[in-house]
């Protein structure tokens, strides 16, 4: 595969990129911290054992960077067939309620701009006859819950969009993979108390890579979150008003 990744310097993106590098996929990294991208590129080159990995600037809060970033990746890889977006912003509901600019940034990055980037990637992939678009949404978008109202709303919208892409473009060769991680222990969730069934980035990466290879439109990771969310979706409103998760 020839893969463009946004968000591969940290967390689940880092774990996924390592699995891809280890099996010989060609990678191009996008992100907003070029020094950090270079460090990750060297890490992945050592894991791959041969070849070089390029990196370019792309910031989810700077939509004007998207087109150039994809062009740069296409040039470096001589065309790509897979786009993986694991980047996103996160803040707790309390932080978002208090800070207007943080709220605007999160909603813009995780919903509007992620979709803008997906649209550009979709057009490029369809133009070459198809490919895979793998985007990390969240189980937070499955049911509105008190601790993740704003973040969950952005992710719900994103999941909705990705499902629509799958409906409309699968026949034309575009395979959309919407990843819905449960609680995973990474830098993003640092300091939060892990609930039962918390996952590890390496385990999530294995599940996601399998889903990409098989073109599954929706994947929960770790898998148990599919059943947890089924339960939570079925809870009546009266219960959701009372509980704190």
């Amino acid at each position: 595969m020839k893969v463009v990744l946004l968000g591969a310097t940290k967390g689940m993106g880092r774990a996924l990129a390592r699995l891809m590098a280890a099996r010989g996929d060609q990678l191009f990294l996008l992100g907003r911290d070029l020094d950090d991208l270079q460090r990750s590129a060297r890490d992945l080159e050592i894991i791959a054992g041969s070849g070089s990995i390029g990196a370019g600037y792309c910031d989810l809060l700077r939509p004007d960077s998207f087109s150039g970033a994809l062009e740069q990746a296409a040039t470096a890889l001589d065309g790509f067939d897979t786009v993986v977006i694991t980047a996103g912003l996160f803040a707790t509901q309390e932080e978002l309620e208090q800070d207007e600019s943080a709220r605007r940034d999160l909603l813009t990055a995780d919903f509007t701009n992620t979709i803008q980037l997906c649209e550009l990637a979709r057009a490029r992939l369809l133009a070459r006859g198809g490919g895979t678009l793998c985007v990390f949404s969240s189980v937070a978008g499955e049911r509105a819950r008190k601790p993740v109202i704003l973040y969950g709303a952005a992710k719900a919208g994103l999941s909705y969009y990705l499902e629509g892409l799958d409906h409309k473009f699968r026949a034309q060769g575009l395979r959309t993979v919407c990843v819905k991680p449960g609680f995973v222990r990474t830098g993003m969730t640092a300091g939060l108390k892990p609930p039962p069934f918390a996952g590890q980035p390496d385990d999530v990466a294995r599940i996601v890579l399998k889903a990409i290879d098989r073109g599954r439109p929706e994947v929960y990771a770790p898998g148990i979150w599919r059943w947890i969310m089924l339960l939570i979706r079925s809870l009546p409103r009266g219960v959701m008003r009372r509980i704190e998760f």
Binding site: K10, R42, F90, V184, K193, P195
Partner: protein, 458 residues
């Protein structure tokens, strides 16, 4: 607002303030303390102003625990990237949180392996430096620190310092085995070694009593890797019987053609109740283990993970001991006094009715570069025991014996040693404290262990 490209998803999280404290413990789960643990991929940034860095928490006692709840402890294990690898020299440089298992998975199939590995691969490179770990190869290859070429540290005043045997040598040597108290270890460069194949040729024999076990281990010095499991729960002439294992890397013509596949461990899902693990169960296990081996010498090719990391097949096996936790008492004793002095340890344990559920005996070679590194020439005993009210007096008695014999204990395992005992067995402590005073006069870097042993203020 935290920016978190590609991070884990907190959508499922319970509403929790991020500043809440957590229960922190070492591998022995004793002691447990309240503390703030900070996780970040950016180790260099997050160590600014922190009191201690910890990795995967495999030190058994209080070495990786904060001195007090106010202190900020940084967890390094998200900073796990390789930085450079030079195939000509074998020197690998990586971020300090890089776990040994990642190094093994990438480099073992390519014919490289670390010259020194502890008995678990769930350790970070930074932790391997801080404890200056040793393994089955100590009689030949020394500690991990012998193979470290460069360290990048954040020292107490906030500066970033690179040190090696050529530059800032005192700091470098005090950091090897310095339990993370001389500076936050940010990056580690060390030399990997070429191996003929990724498989191990192992020979093992069982030994009928304590003296036979020790003699057999001594006679195996010609092997690159030796270790011995011993049954310390047995009585009479059978006490201290065991199985001595000797290994070397297999030659290409002996080894299977396919590289070894890596194993996924099973996990102990919860902490067992305290009453679960009883001495009689371990006695039965020890009998079976001994009988299963059979009387004859066994030889053959085995999986490298089976040889190096037998306990890693079960994740969180420490939970089997229950909430009481357990301690591993590890000491090294010189051999010049003859085996009778060693038998005295066994007899002391039996007098105290010490429930030694696991005993691993290793051969130690020459003292290494680390100012405060544990090994010295002799025999090392690692004894796993559940924590009980009788543990402190037992450790005190063992330590008094070890001091009289000219031995010492291993800080990476320790949770019970008294400050005066440690000072008595460690003539090098003054030299180490001098270096620490130079780089950290206010003792900003500290741990629960440094409060207990070095008189730091909590």
């Amino acid at each position: 607002m935290e920016s978190s490209p590609a991070a884990g998803d907190a959508g499922a999280v319970l509403a929790q303030a991020r500043t809440s404290t957590v229960q922190l413990g070492g591998w022995g789960r004793y002691p447990m303390v309240e503390g703030h643990e900070e996780w970040s991929e950016d180790l260099q940034g997050s160590t600014q102003g922190a009191a201690l860095t910890r990795g995967l928490g495999r030190s058994y006692g209080d070495a990786s625990l904060p001195a007090c709840t106010r202190d900020r402890v940084v967890n390094s294990s998200l900073a796990d990237r390789f930085i450079t690898f030079d195939p000509d020299t074998g020197v690998l440089r990586a971020e300090a949180g890089c776990p040994l298992w990642r190094v093994n998975r990438v480099f073992l199939p390519r014919g490289w392996f670390t010259p020194v590995t502890p008995g678990t691969h769930y350790v970070t490179l930074g932790g391997m430096v801080a404890a200056d770990v040793h393994g089955k190869s100590h009689h030949r290859d020394g500690c991990f620190g012998e193979h470290v070429t460069l360290l990048k540290l954040r020292v107490a005043d906030g500066r970033i310092v690179e040190c090696s045997d050529e530059a800032e040598r005192d700091l470098f040597r005090a950091t090897l085995g310095g339990m993370g108290l001389t500076g936050h270890i940010l990056e580690v460069a060390f030399r990997l070694r070429r191996i003929p194949s990724p498989w191990i040729w192992q020979e093992s024999e069982r030994t009928p009593n304590f003296e036979a076990t020790l003699s057999s281990l001594q006679a195996a010095k010609t092997w690159p890797f030796t270790v011995c499991w011993a049954d310390f729960l047995n009585k009479g002439s059978r006490a201290g019987r065991g199985i001595v294992m000797k290994g070397r890397w297999a030659e290409p013509h002996e080894a299977p053609k396919a590289p070894p596949s890596f194993r996924r461990p099973v996990t102990v899902p919860f902490v067992f109740p305290n009453w679960f693990l009883q001495p009689w169960m371990v006695q039965v296990f020890n009998w079976l283990n001994y009988l299963k081996h059979g009387p004859r010498l066994r030889a053959g090719i085995i999986h490298p993970e089976t040889f190096w990391y037998p306990l890693d097949t079960v994740q969180y096996w420490n939970r089997v001991y229950g909430r009481r936790g357990f301690t591993q008492y590890q000491c090294v004793l010189p051999v010049d006094g003859g085996w009778s002095r060693h038998r005295a340890v066994l007899e002391l344990l039996q007098r105290h009715r010490a429930p030694v559920f696991l005993c691993v005996i290793k051969d130690c070679g020459a003292e290494g570069r680390g100012t405060l590194s544990f090994p010295k020439p002799g025999i090392s005993y690692a004894l796993d025991m559940p924590v009980a009210p009788s543990t402190q007096p037992l450790v005190d008695a063992l330590n008094e014996f070890v001091i009289a014999e000219g031995g010492r204990v291993y800080l990476a395992k320790d949770a019970f040693t008294r400050a005066e005992h440690f000072r008595a067995m460690e003539p090098r402590l003054d030299a180490w404290e001098r270096v620490r005073r130079t780089w950290d006069p206010q003792r900003r870097l500290r741990s629960a262990q440094s409060v207990r042993l070095f008189g730091d203020q909590p």
